[in-house]
């Protein structure tokens, strides 16, 4: 029969396996057959397009790490009789496996498990794939309640962390003792895997964490073990050194060592206090920022930290982002007040506090504004993802004609400021998600905005403001998500970016008399 091997057509005997095609090349750990990753012992069919996948390639590393996860799971079930299996996918730089166990794993447990894993690796167990029916799988995995749940799911497509199912068929991988031929352990898995545990050159268990089954807090809590695996001992060592260096630079660690800031339990998650030394650095940064803003024609304003519900109804925040705001306080006979999540509505109010002349534009309002956002406890992280923060926030009101010039000078301003604060950081800007990427520049000038903000009567009789919400027939901005969930999906780090549009919609609302911009 005829196949295509690494781009070249060639004849092969019927019954040839992928392993035989790459015979002798130990760096090849799986094959890509007709675009899909398959085990090396897969038999090749006529017309197949076959490519070798090296252990050091991205796919190869994923297979290595997933096979190491299987070895870990076997070691855990060897060591702890009552351990039940969750899921165990490869992840960036490593893998994890979740277990339902009576008590969380200790550091000593990890050492024991590593020793057991070494034994399994050395013993050279074969990974053997076996296709099973749903019923057969249920019978075999009767003692694994979590795996049973996955059998019912069948399609795990789109969920990268679900290695168990998702192929055309269900399969179980047996770990077969090289000497005796006995099945030492097995796991529901779509594969593929290394041919043998002996091909795991270097691994290490890193840490443990608690994790809910399938990521939902309504489900049982499992214990997760994280590990890493590499094609050589040198690469493992290099990876561990990199981690140690990053750990030394972790801002949370430096913050404590240098007495800069802390997160006292009594205040609450994601809410920091700055100590005198941290306060000094912060003040110098703020002074610098103030000076540069002053030089660049910004005007300084201030606004309060809380306001009535009505403001966030008009701005659209409550329609879209109520879940990410702190819950309201009820005061003054049922009046609801919210902590502010963004400064824009306040600046818009300052803008429209009196009639503005065309000649006042561009008007650049700046504030160090403290905002509060109810981030989920799982994502709160040091100073980089907090629940209370201070933004160096500005809003520039200008005409469409002024827009290009404003954007140009704004970008120059931004680049100059960064050049000062991180003078040697041209690579730094590329590597990190730069703060500039947080700012969203809206696409249109005043006149277009007036067109955008086709007025619609507000429900609130006490307000003469008009509101453009999601029910508006106004043309959609490319920045405006179709649904709140779409907003979250498109902007995983923070959905807040998109609420800029909400603030925007009423700032230039056409109004007879006061508050409008005449052009």
């Amino acid at each position: 029969m005829q196949i295509t091997l690494a781009g070249n057509a060639q004849p092969v005997a019927a019954g040839t396996t992928a392993a035989q095609l790459f015979d002798g090349d130990r760096s090849v750990v799986v094959a890509r057959i007709n675009g899909e990753l398959r085990d090396l012992d897969t038999e090749i069919a006529d017309g197949d397009v076959v490519e070798p996948v090296a252990i050091s390639s991205e796919d190869g590393l994923g297979v290595l790490r997933h096979s190491t996860a299987h070895v870990l799971a076997q070691a855990v079930q060897d060591t702890f009789d009552d351990a039940r299996l969750g899921i165990g996918p490869p992840i960036k730089d490593g893998f994890y496996y979740d277990f339902d166990v009576e008590t969380p794993f200790t550091p000593d447990d990890l050492k024991r498990l590593e020793r057991r894993m070494q034994q399994i690796v050395k013993s050279g167990q074969r990974f053997a794939r076996r296709v099973v029916s749903d019923d057969a799988a249920r019978a075999e995995l009767a003692s694994e309640p979590y795996k049973l749940e996955l059998i019912g799911l069948k399609s795990g497509a789109g969920d990268d962390e679900l290695m168990e199912v998702g192929g055309d068929e269900l399969s179980i991988y047996d770990n077969i003792n090289g000497k005796t031929g006995d099945v030492e352990w097995k796991d529901l898995c779509r594969g593929p895997h290394l041919p043998s545990t002996r091909l795991i050159p270097a691994f290490k268990l890193m840490r443990t964490a608690a994790a809910y089954w399938r990521g939902s807090e309504k489900n049982p809590q499992l214990q997760r073990i994280y590990g890493t695996a590499w094609p050589s001992k040198e690469e493992l060592t290099k990876h561990l050194e990199l981690l140690a260096e990053a750990e030394k630079r972790d801002h949370r660690r430096l913050g404590a060592e240098l007495d800069l800031f802390s997160f006292p339990d009594e205040i609450g998650s994601g809410l920091s206090v700055f100590h005198p030394k941290g306060g000094t650095v912060r003040r110098v940064l703020e002074d610098y920022s103030r000076k540069r803003h002053d030089e660049s024609g910004y005007e300084f304003v201030n606004s309060p930290h809380i306001s009535k519900q009505e403001l966030f109804q008009i701005s659209g925040h409550l329609d879209w982002y109520a879940d990410s705001m702190y819950p309201p306080m009820e005061l003054d006979e049922g009046q609801r007040y919210y902590l502010k999540p963004m400064n824009c509505p306040y600046h818009n109010l300052i803008f429209r506090a009196r009639g503005r002349s065309y000649r006042e534009l561009p008007l650049r309002l700046f504030e160090f504004g403290s905002v509060y956002r109810y981030e989920k406890s799982g994502v709160v992280h040091g100073l980089t993802r907090v629940r209370g923060m201070t933004q160096d926030d500005a809003h520039i009101y200008c005409t469409k004609e002024q827009m290009p010039g404003e954007l140009d000078s704004l970008l120059t301003f931004v680049l100059n400021c960064f050049a000062t604060t991180a003078s040697t950081t041209s690579t730094w800007n590329c590597r990190r998600k730069t703060p500039t990427s947080r700012s969203v520049v809206m696409p249109s000038g005043t006149r277009q905005l007036r067109h955008f903000a086709k007025p619609q009567r507000s429900n609130s009789s006490s307000s003469s403001w008009t509101q453009v919400g999601r029910r508006s027939t106004a043309p959609r901005s490319p920045f405006k998500p179709a649904t709140p969930s779409a907003a979250r999906g498109r902007c995983p780090r923070s959905s807040w970016t998109f609420s800029y549009r909400a603030c925007l919609s009423w700032s230039f609302r056409p109004q007879t008399g006061r508050g409008s911009v005449r052009s």
Partner: protein, 128 residues
């Protein structure tokens, strides 16, 4: 209307700078810019005068007058990643000078006080 936040949040920007510099802020940002380290207690007042001169020029400077030995004081300042250590002993006093010690461990001895002050002030002002 153009929305923009340059640092994003001060807190996040602070964290990014902290990790970027590994805690060793450039002189203009460092919370303590200069620590005076006397070779013995006898040189406390001498260094205090130098530090006063620096403070009057807006430099964040202090003298370590604790009971620690000099070597310990140097280690403490190094751990705190202070950009400039100014050491003074009898020889420095006789020459109206100080000795610089930098974060990388290098040292420059016998720098006249005026010159030392000007150098520090200029580094801070130029955001070196």
């Amino acid at each position: 209307m153009i929305h923009r936040a340059l640092f994003g949040s001060i807190e996040r920007f602070f964290a990014v700078l902290l990790e970027h510099y590994g805690g060793a802020f450039p002189a203009w940002l460092a919370p303590v810019q200069v620590v005076g380290i006397p070779i013995s207690d006898a040189h406390n007042d001498y260094l205090q005068d130098v530090v006063e001169q620096l403070r009057s020029r807006g430099v964040r400077a202090e003298v370590d007058t604790s009971d620690d030995r000099m070597q310990k004081k140097i280690r403490t300042a190094q751990k705190q990643k202070v950009p400039f250590m100014l050491l003074a002993g009898d020889e420095d006093v006789s020459q109206n000078a100080v000795s610089f010690r930098f974060r990388d461990g290098s040292q420059q001895n016998g720098v006249p006080i005026d010159e030392a002050v000007e150098r520090i002030v200029s580094d801070v002002e130029n955001r070196v």
